[in-house]
């Protein structure tokens, strides 16, 4: 239902054809990852209805893989929830940053909040902060949601017949896509300083901290922002 709403409103505003094509590329890539999630959850013995419910209701790939891995390794469900929530905490500062890109009215925001994922944030931010960015956020988010859930169902049904997504290099596609979306914003010197610092901090922290924390700790790089609003 909300997919339809989002798609219709995307058609209502000026969504650029190129933006739709780019969003479709991300949607295709996330479908492949969704398939591997469905297959993995099936192999881990998660009931199919719970796997589908996760993809529809949680809609945060990293935390879903992590939660299933924790349970598959014999962890308690509460530990899986804690690990997943820790990984998803970064969505709060993302929400702060994107503000009304997620929608301008309360109902739009209630829907927009559910499609707040890394790729969508990067995709919309790369298109400024006006109507084009809002349309991009809705459309890309709806396509990612659709792809992720369709992929999950296919993966569940196909089970072990789903090939390892690593053999398609999908694990390289997402960081490369995020990087491509980020590059223009990194032309500003302050963004470049903060970005570089964030990468160093996150990489240094990764061996020592549980998933999710290294990326949050990278916010320490904001000390490199400087005080003046230079060259933005």
């Amino acid at each position: 239902m909300f997919i339809l709403t989002a798609m219709c409103s995307a058609r209502r505003t000026a969504l650029e054809r190129g933006d739709l094509r780019d969003a479709l590329a991300l949607g295709a890539a996330i479908t492949v990852v969704g398939m591997s999630f469905g297959a993995l959850a099936a192999a881990a013995g998660v009931p199919p209805v719970l796997t589908v419910a996760m993809s529809v209701l949680v809609f945060a790939g990293g935390s879903q893989f992590l939660a299933v891995a924790v349970v598959a390794a014999g962890g308690a469900p509460i530990a899986a929830v804690a690990a997943g929530l820790l990984l998803n905490l970064r969505h709060l500062p993302f929400g702060l940053a994107i503000g009304d890109l997620a929608g301008r009215t309360l109902p739009a925001r209630l829907l927009g909040a559910h499609i707040l994922i890394d790729e969508n944030v990067a995709f919309a931010r790369a298109r400024g902060s006006g109507p084009r960015a809002r349309a991009a956020y809705r459309t890309c988010g709806a396509l990612l949601f659709l792809g992720w859930n369709a992929g999950t169902v296919v993966g569940l049904l196909a089970g072990s017949a789903v090939p390892d997504p690593a053999s398609f290099g999908v694990d390289a596609a997402f960081p490369a896509a995020l990087l491509a979306l980020l590059l223009p914003s990194l032309r500003a010197p302050d963004a470049r300083r903060v970005g570089l610092g964030a990468a160093v901090v996150a990489l240094a922290a990764t061996p020592f901290l549980p998933p999710g924390l290294p990326v949050l700790v990278a916010l320490l790089a904001l000390v490199l922002a400087g005080r003046t609003e230079v060259e933005r």
Binding site: D22, A25, L26, A29, V46, L50, A53, M54, L57, V58, F59, A67, V68, P77, V81, G84, L89, R90, H91, P93, G95, L96, A97, I98, G99, R109, L116, D118, V121, A122, A166, G169, D171, A172, A173, P175, A176, A177, L178, L179, A180, L181, L182, L183, S185, L186, V194, A198, A199, A202, P207, P214, V215, L216, A218, A221, L222, A225, E229, R232
Partner: protein, 102 residues
């Protein structure tokens, strides 16, 4: 996995997402803070790129993945269309793995 766990993860994740979006409205951010939240998003995204490109389960991800991300990054820098950037990155990594590079 239980229904309680799925619903708790879903509700928690949704509230985290909604909190940021609604908070932005509740407090009128001074220009300096607004700039910092924007730079914060950049910091998080770059950190995600770096860790996703180079690490796996707390260790090194192997050479095939960062090589693909590097090819994609250079392509993006050369203003190659986005769809092609994604395909080049995945193709490089897939090709290297097919050749036996981890």
């Amino acid at each position: 996995m239980t229904w309680a766990a799925v619903l708790a993860l879903a509700a928690g994740t949704y509230l985290v997402r909604l909190a940021g979006i609604l908070l932005r409205d509740k407090v009128t951010l001074p220009a300096r803070l607004a700039r910092l939240t924007d730079l914060g998003a950049t910091a998080l995204l770059v950190a995600l790129v770096a860790t996703a490109a180079l690490t796996e389960a707390g260790g090194f991800a192997g050479w095939a993945r960062p090589a693909g991300v590097l090819v994609g990054g250079v392509a993006a820098w050369l203003k190659v269309p986005f769809v092609l950037v994604v395909v080049l990155a995945a193709g490089t990594t897939a090709g290297l793995r097919a050749l036996g590079v981890a």
